[in-house]
């Protein structure tokens, strides 16, 4: 048997029962990797229930910085769940390692010769060491972390420090946790030779700036920094933690120092219709207001999104996408709300979308979204996903520049109103489609108007005149055009040598891209990259796409939704864009993308150049 040998490049997969406290222990392991300065990418793959079902936690460590899910078998599997052990054992890469609880003897039929099977009597140790049933359950997890440390040569002190930090304020818990770690550490040392072939070392060029954080905490913090004060919400996985974090940060950062009152207001609503209604009311009344939801909540918000579009209310909606349709797979990731958000609601509507790809970007866009919304007086939907939102990511840190004051857009205050002859809420004074608005109560006799979802003239008076309606709808089109140059631009990455192929992608697909590029390079395919960061599309995207022989568009949905949007909005011939779609609910892998690119690229016969190019040749 050839054992895997690897330093700082491997995947550990933890198989547990959910509701037993494993997530926190597994997170401890990921954090330890981070402490070594290693890029680390943990993925919590959990079931849609509360307790007793199989749950998985996959940690990829990659000094090379490959942060996408690797996707194949794991180098090390820690199998703690009797329900799933058959599959868990199959999940070990040949030459890899299985750590399991051998208190109850393993069925000999499950034995594999091509891996190293390390049985530790974890339950037995717990039964011996602890009386409290809860401790017996919880410390199992800590024990295998201790064992892992010994196996992969992780400095024990790192775990000790992390435990001490984690239980700051609950010091009583520190010693027993360390004790559990030690038991695992010592026990495994007595059983097998440590370290094994897979090891960790402190990173050579650690990025000391990097942080390890989930996208939902980042987005919440973005909303705090962006000045959000009114929030309506309704619980739904995986968006709940956006609001929970927003509340926690506000409680910390937004309490009036004098009287302890709150400079924010959060309301758990009775459903999603109400949640977005609250955001709309708050925004109408001059506060930066938002809500956050997922899946079914998006559908339920659709009527109100249409109102906000048409009545021009600057709300922010944070959509943490999960696998649809309907209830779908509520604890799996996808990017499948692109179309339903871009064209949300009946009638002619177009919504502004932002696509963050990292926690840092969740933070930045989480704040920017409010500027964009107020500048454009329209809803802005930030399209995160479960993978980004609920998993910790290795990210550049958050930054905030003093030089960027909130852009509240075109709001007339009392003084300005005073100087205006006649205020018209929907007068396109500047020709950019964006009109001036007023906040209720601003002025005793000027600026009041009736906001409505029905058609109105430039002075906000109800009208059924076709020409007024058309004028208004055309202005909204103009405004959407204006948006292109206000919202986030795409990120373009060019290869050193000239590329004939390019990949267009967005959101969390980003984490798989550096590896994809390397895989393709190995196969002799040079690609340039464009990451879409916002809709409506900036003209750079159109230009970029025109520059390549073959352009691939990566979507984490079935129907190639981003490709569809590109085709529609940029008038690109559909056959010029080659969709690559992953939609099994797990984060996309570089392997998947690279293979698809290679297959599609091979498919394209030498003569079959894209139509656009050929047209160029004809002209």
């Amino acid at each position: 048997m050839k054992m895997i040998k690897s330093v700082n490049e491997f995947v550990v997969r933890f198989a547990n029962v959910n509701g037993t406290g494993s997530a926190s222990a597994n997170g401890l392991f990921a954090k330890a990797m981070f402490k070594l300065g290693l890029p680390v990418s943990p993925k919590n793959i959990f079931p849609s229930n509360i307790q007793g079902m199989p749950t998985f936690y996959e940690v990829r460590v990659s000094e090379k910085g490959y942060m996408g899910r690797r996707g194949d078998l794991a180098d090390i599997v820690v199998a703690m769940n009797g329900q799933s052990i058959v599959g868990d054992i199959q999940n070990v890469m040949p030459g890899g390692y299985l750590v399991y609880d051998n208190t109850r003897k393993l069925d000999p039929a499950l034995h594999r010769d091509d891996i190293t099977m390390i049985g530790i009597p974890i339950t037995e140790i717990c039964l011996r060491e602890y009386q409290d049933p809860k401790q017996r359950m919880l410390f199992k997890n800590v024990i295998y972390i201790g064992a892992l440390a010994a196996l992969i040569d992780l400095e024990f002190q790192i775990l000790v420090d992390l435990i001490s930090k984690q239980f700051k304020g609950k010091e009583k818990l520190i010693a027993p946790n360390i004790h559990a770690l030690e038991m695992g550490y010592q026990n495994v040392k007595s059983l097998v030779e440590c370290p094994i072939g897979i090891r960790v070392r402190a990173a050579k060029n650690p990025n000391t700036e990097a942080i390890l954080v989930d996208g939902n905490a980042a987005a919440a913090l973005g909303a705090v920094y962006g000045g959000a004060t009114v929030c309506g919400w309704y619980p739904i996985t995986p968006s709940t933690s956006v609001i929970e974090n927003f509340g926690t940060y506000c409680d910390r950062l937004r309490i009036d120092p004098v009287d302890g009152t709150k400079n924010f207001a959060i309301m758990q609503a009775e459903d999603e219709l109400s949640a977005i209604g609250i955001a709309i009311g708050g925004a109408w009344n001059g506060c930066r207001s938002f809500t956050s939801t997922s899946g079914p909540g998006i559908s339920l918000m659709s009527e109100f999104l249409g109102l906000a579009y048409f009545a021009e209310i600057p709300i922010v909606l944070i959509n943490i996408q999960r696998a649809g349709p309907s209830t779908g797979m509520p604890t799996r990731t996808q990017q499948s709300d692109v179309l339903s958000c871009a064209y949300a609601s009946h009638g002619d509507t177009k919504q502004v979308l932002l696509f963050p790809s990292s926690p840092a970007e969740c933070f930045e866009m989480g704040a920017d979204a409010f500027d964009f919304a107020e500048r454009l007086q329209t809803p802005v939907i930030m399209m995160s996903d479960l993978n980004l939102g609920m998993n910790d990511h290795y990210s550049r840190p958050f930054t905030w520049s003093k030089k960027r004051p909130y852009d509240r857009g075109k709001v007339l205050n009392a003084e300005q109103l005073e100087s205006i002859e006649k205020f018209g809420r929907y007068l396109d004074v500047d020709g950019d489609g964006i009109c001036y608005r007023t906040i209720p109560g601003a002025h005793p006799t000027k600026g009041a108007y009736f906001t409505r979802g029905t058609s109105r003239d430039a002075f906000a008076i109800y009208t059924e005149k076709g020409e007024e309606y058309v004028k208004n709808m055309d202005r909204l089109t103009r405004k959407f055009k204006t948006a292109e140059n206000i919202i986030s631009r795409p990120e373009i990455t060019k290869s050193k040598t000239k590329a004939r192929h390019a990949i267009v992608y967005y959101g969390t697909t980003d984490e798989a891209m550096s590896e994809t590029v390397d895989l393709l390079a190995k196969a002799g395919v040079v690609v340039d990259l464009l990451r879409i960061r916002a809709f409506p599309f900036h003209s750079d995207i159109d230009q970029f796409i025109g520059d390549y022989e073959q352009v691939f568009v990566v979507d984490q949905n079935r129907d190639a939704q981003m490709k569809t949007l590109l085709v529609n909005e940029l008038a690109i011939a559909p056959n010029d864009l080659h969709p690559i779609c992953n939609y099994d609910g797990l984060p996309i892998t570089a392997e998947f993308i690279a293979q698809k690119v290679m297959a599609l690229q091979a498919d394209s016969a030498p003569g079959s150049k894209k139509s656009k190019a050929s047209m160029g040749e004809m002209a």
């Binding site: 942080i211 390890l212 954080v213 913090l221 705090v224 920094y225 000045g227 004060t229 009114v230 309506g232 950062l253 937004r254 009036d256 009287d259 009152t261 709150k262 400079n263 924010f264 207001a265 959060i266 309301m267 609503a269 009775e270 459903d271 219709l273 109400s274 209604g277 609250i278 709309i280 009311g281 708050g282 925004a283 109408w284 009344n285 001059g286 506060c287 207001s289 009527e303 109100f304 109102l307 840190p397 958050f398 930054t399 905030w400 003093k402 004051p405 909130y406 209720p440 109560g441 601003a442 002025h443 005793p444 006799t445 009041a448 108007y449 009736f450 409505r452 979802g453 008076i461 109800y462």
Partner: protein, 350 residues
């Protein structure tokens, strides 16, 4: 229903403390049917706000969709208004109130808007104790869509087309009390004096104030057999109490014989003086109010007047612990924690 409204103000029009006349509280011309009860409600709002000397621009008018929900266009032209979507005004009003606790919120809805599509939102905005006056122009019918029964249509009553309504009717006043409303009254579009008093008290009340206003739809629900015709109301109405609203600024020390009236001092120091007429229930006792309503419902009687009040009620912002200053008044300075705090937050993620 005249085509143009005159803007001429007669110099002798009575001016309130702000020096404003009744005309300053009017809105644009109504497009409702001639004789619609809703127009009378608008007129009462105008009068109540004028008499309370509310600065018109410090009022926010919130509504859903329906003839009744259009009505806010027809009063307080200097106030911002929001005609939102059908049945979901309560959430929009909630957000608005969260953003600025200092405006006076008038929500105007219809029975369909509130008891059918909006029933969930209605129940939940009450639970939040939001400081607003929520009025339902209740005609037991969908006016704007031409005559379907709503959930307040009386069981057994007949539609204009003759169909019998077999479904239990919802009494919104009862539900309001059940859900924790702290001011609940019922009025009639035809009785302006009572309406104006109830509205003034409702707006002075801190917390959720609900007024169910019987407001006949002359076009679709004023026939024999209807539970919301003028005639039906006159035959089945029973006045619970006569009330007077005495604003804080007026002298409230005038002596009155104790056993004839009950005085309720509201949180701002203004007072409601109640004179019992038929009923003997204590308007400040929730259980009393509920059983009076249940009994009346059982007896096909429509109680009007102030039904329940808790003068010491909390408001949503007490519940939330919000800053006294309106949130929409806060600036980047108060709201943005800045880079140095962000540095320490970053550190927490290392």
């Amino acid at each position: 229903m005249s085509y143009k409204k005159s803007h001429f103000q007669h110099p002798s029009l009575k001016r309130n403390e702000l020096g404003l006349t009744y005309r300053d509280y009017e809105g644009s011309l109504s497009t409702l049917c001639a004789g619609c009860g809703h127009d009378a409600i608008s007129a009462a709002v105008v009068q109540a706000c004028h008499e309370l000397s509310l600065p018109p621009h410090r009022v926010a008018k919130m509504s859903g969709i329906g003839c009744s929900s259009k009505a806010p266009t027809y009063f307080l032209g200097q106030a911002h208004g929001f005609n939102s979507v059908h049945g979901r005004m309560p959430s929009v009003a909630t957000g608005a109130n969260m953003a600025n606790r200092d405006l006076v919120y008038i929500g105007m809805s219809g029975d369909g808007d509130t008891s059918n599509i909006g029933f969930g939102q209605f129940a939940h905005v009450i639970r939040r104790q939001m400081n607003m006056m929520y009025i339902v122009a209740n005609n037991g019918v969908y006016g704007l869509t031409k005559g379907q029964s709503s959930a307040t249509a009386k069981m057994g009553s007949t539609s204009k087309k003759g169909a019998v309504n077999p479904l239990a009717d919802i009494d919104l006043a009862t539900i309001a009390i059940d859900m924790g409303a702290t001011f609940v009254a019922r009025g009639f579009s035809g009785d302006t004096a009572q309406l104006v008093t109830l509205m003034k008290a409702a707006m002075a009340h801190r917390g959720f104030a609900f007024i169910d206003i019987v407001s006949p739809c002359v076009t679709f629900n004023n026939h024999k057999g209807s539970g919301y015709s003028f005639d039906y109301f006159r035959e089945h109405a029973e006045l619970v109490n006569m009330s007077d609203f005495i604003p804080i600024r007026e002298d409230i020390l005038v002596e009155v014989p104790e056993n004839e009236v009950r005085e309720v001092i509201l949180h701002d120091g203004s007072m409601i003086r109640l004179k019992h007429v038929a009923h003997e229930h204590d308007e400040t006792n929730r259980l009393d109010a509920l059983s009076a309503l249940h009994k009346a419902h059982h007896d096909d009687t429509v109680l009007t007047g102030l039904l329940y009040v808790d003068p010491n009620a909390e408001d949503m912002h007490d519940v939330l612990g919000t800053a006294a200053r309106p949130l929409n008044d806060l600036t980047e300075k108060e709201l943005c924690p800045g880079m140095s705090i962000l540095d320490s937050i970053n550190n927490g993620f290392r």
